[in-house]
Symmetry: C2
Amino acid sequence: MQRIFEALASAPRRRILAILAHGEMSAGDIAARFEMTRASISQHLSVLETAGLVVGEKRGQFVFYRQVPDSLVNTLAGFVQEACPIGRPLRHESAARARRQKS
Amino acid sequence: MQRIFEALASAPRRRILAILAHGEMSAGDIAARFEMTRASISQHLSVLETAGLVVGEKRGQFVFYRQVPDSLVNTLAGFVQEACPIGRPLRHESAARARRQKS
DNA sequence: TCGATATTTAGGCAATTACTTAAATGCCGA
DNA sequence: TCGGCATTTAAGTAATTGCCTAAATATCGA
């Protein structure tokens, strides 16, 4: 929980998650999308992995990273449930609030 | 966005949000729930307010804080949409993933 | 108006973060 | 087995964070 939110506090790390939303990718290919050294990206990946948001799998010369399913969304959903005004299931929040605000 | 995730990276600040989920509360009453000086809580409240997650309203001697509706949930929902494997609406995530995992 | 209460602001300090460059590790193919 | 590529680890540095204490600001009630 703490580690997940710390991981999400960094824009490059959020961007890495967005990239990995489309499928796995090697560390080098990820790094190629940033203007930052490979070492720095490796550190970001390690933060994400420690938080349990991604896993890296070494295949030959490369390390392929992918998202851990559920981890992110479950944490955020759980947090929203205790941090948002009670009695408002996550799935209805947007519409329900819009209605309430209008009236 | 950046400010919101930075705000959420702190456990005390997340706890403040959870407290304010039940309704508004004065800065002092919030601070009373923490083992931390009022000055520190005031700083946390200021971070949350700068992020647009809460607003403080001065009434007499007190400043009452409350959550800004939608702000948190909309940001998180928007982020999940681009950071999670595509084609999975937030409202179905938990159940759908549970089913998928079972099969 | 005075003294007490509520809150914020200012200044300082220790710990952490986010980069960097350089070196180490591991795997591949000639 | 050697040279080269992919990646991580190590070490250093500048900037930021989170807390504190002390001081400032504003409001209340007598």
